[in-house]
């Protein structure tokens, strides 16, 4: 079964790489199968990690008389079923109920978490080295890095600040911000390329090693 699996994986890998030549039936075969398998996998996970533990088990416990609190789960199940109202042209508006709940939930979760993790923590990380600088424990290079960090953050934010016209000092600050942004995008690009190349090496390693046994 393992050997068969290696052959299946190798042939599917080659099917997808055949796209490098041009679009062809082998690629389309693998592409459509990939979509189907991925969607099926997502459905199974959401049922087994969402619906069963959070809805079905508590509800079943209520049905068997173990814990009646599980009956409350009928509410989210009913709300979730309203998604299917989209399939009935006359009742499409009902889909707004589950969407409104999920959006309200997401917004409510986002505000405190974003404040804490993204605003307070990032600001703290930016100005924290100045405490060490004040205490005299930061080296000359550390001072340079701390100042560079603040300059980078302020200039990047200035670039995104559209409430004032970018003229005079604001223009120069935003120009420095662009330079920092380009370094950020360059780093992201470099890391992405290396990530993809690592995947390519891993696939080549699989084909030449696991499948063809040409390398050990």
């Amino acid at each position: 079964m393992e050997l068969f699996g290696i052959w299946v994986a190798a042939l599917l890998t080659l099917c997808i790489y055949s796209f490098l030549y041009q679009d062809n039936p082998f690629y389309r075969f693998a592409e459509h199968l990939y979509v189907g398998i991925s969607v099926g996998y997502g459905i199974v996970l959401s049922i087994h990690q969402g619906l069963i533990p959070f809805a079905f088990k508590p509800f079943w416990a209520a049905v068997t008389g173990e814990s009646l609190i599980g009956l409350v789960k009928l509410i989210p199940i009913g709300v979730g079923l309203l998604f299917f109202a989209r399939l009935s042209p006359g009742h499409t508006w009902l889909i707004r109920y589950p969407i409104a709940i999920l959006i309200g939930f997401g917004s409510g979760v986002a505000i405190p978490n974003v404040l804490r993790a993204n605003i307070f923590e990032q600001t703290r990380g930016t100005i924290e080295p100045f405490a060490a600088m004040h205490a005299g424990t930061l080296s000359g290079w550390g001072v340079f890095e701390a100042v560079l960090m603040v300059v980078g953050v302020v200039c990047t934010l200035t670039y995104f600040f559209f409430s004032v016209e970018h003229r005079g000092p604001v223009k120069w600050l935003s120009k420095v911000g662009i330079a920092f942004l380009m370094i950020g995008f360059g780093s992201a690009f470099g890391n992405t390329v290396m990530g993809r190349v690592a995947l390519l090496i891993q696939r080549a390693d699989f084909l030449l090693g696991d499948w063809l046994n040409l390398i050990s």
Binding site: T13, S38, L81, R96, I103
Partner: protein, 216 residues
């Protein structure tokens, strides 16, 4: 009824999620956990609806005999195979895991590794350094890429052996990631976070209603 109730639901769920996160009281925490479980129950229904729409699209393709319609059957094969095995027997089932390990994971990795080729041609077009900003992006990406692989340090130690700094490629990469890159990212994160918070407040207060769609 059709617009007001969803707005009220959105407001209530948003406010509940904000306040329960700030209150350590046991009732508040129980409510917080309960609402989270509700969201986890409702979300899979959205996935099932998305799958239904996907199936409808492919059924239409088959019915209308559009170009490459035969491949639509493969999407169904993928979904049905994973659901038929995974839903009753669970994701830990051996056959389900076999499909995951030998079909989905290799195709997933290959699809992403395919991007290595396209990103290279995109990089050629993007990196024709004509401006200062483009040059900055190019140089940063090159340093990050070379610092990611051992050959980068090998080249540095061979070509720039007269410098007192050893393994400078990986060192330069790390310095860029930890300083100018991080400051740009912090600027972006702070800007995005402020946007998320303001948008969340607008959604909860019912000022932003585009998620309700058009019509009554």
């Amino acid at each position: 009824m059709r617009r007001q109730v969803p707005l009220i639901l959105c407001f209530v769920f948003g406010i509940v999620m904000i306040f329960t996160q700030f209150s350590p009281h046991s009732v508040s925490q129980t409510l917080y956990q309960e609402v989270i479980s509700w969201a986890l129950i409702i979300s899979p229904f959205a996935l099932v609806l998305a799958t239904t729409t996907l199936i409808q699209t492919h059924v239409t393709r088959i019915r209308r005999r559009t170009e490459h319609w035969q491949y639509s059957f493969l999407v169904f094969v993928g979904i049905i195979t994973m659901v038929v095995i995974g839903v009753p027997f669970g994701p830990q089932n051996q056959v389900f895991e076999w499909f995951y390990t030998h079909v989905q994971v290799p195709m997933d990795a290959t699809m992403f590794s395919l991007l290595a080729f396209f990103i290279a041609s995109a990089a050629y077009r993007a990196f024709r350094a004509r401006t200062f900003e483009a040059s900055l992006l190019l140089i940063t990406a090159l340093i990050v890429m070379m610092g990611n692989v051992p050959v980068g340090d090998l080249i540095w130690n061979t070509v720039l052996s007269w410098l007192p700094l050893e393994d400078g490629a990986s060192g330069a990469r790390q310095w860029i990631l930890n300083n100018p890159n991080l400051s740009a990212r912090r600027g972006i994160i702070l800007g995005v976070s402020l946007g998320v918070i303001s948008q969340s407040i607008r959604i909860i207060l019912g000022i932003e209603r585009t998620y309700l769609g058009g019509g009554d």
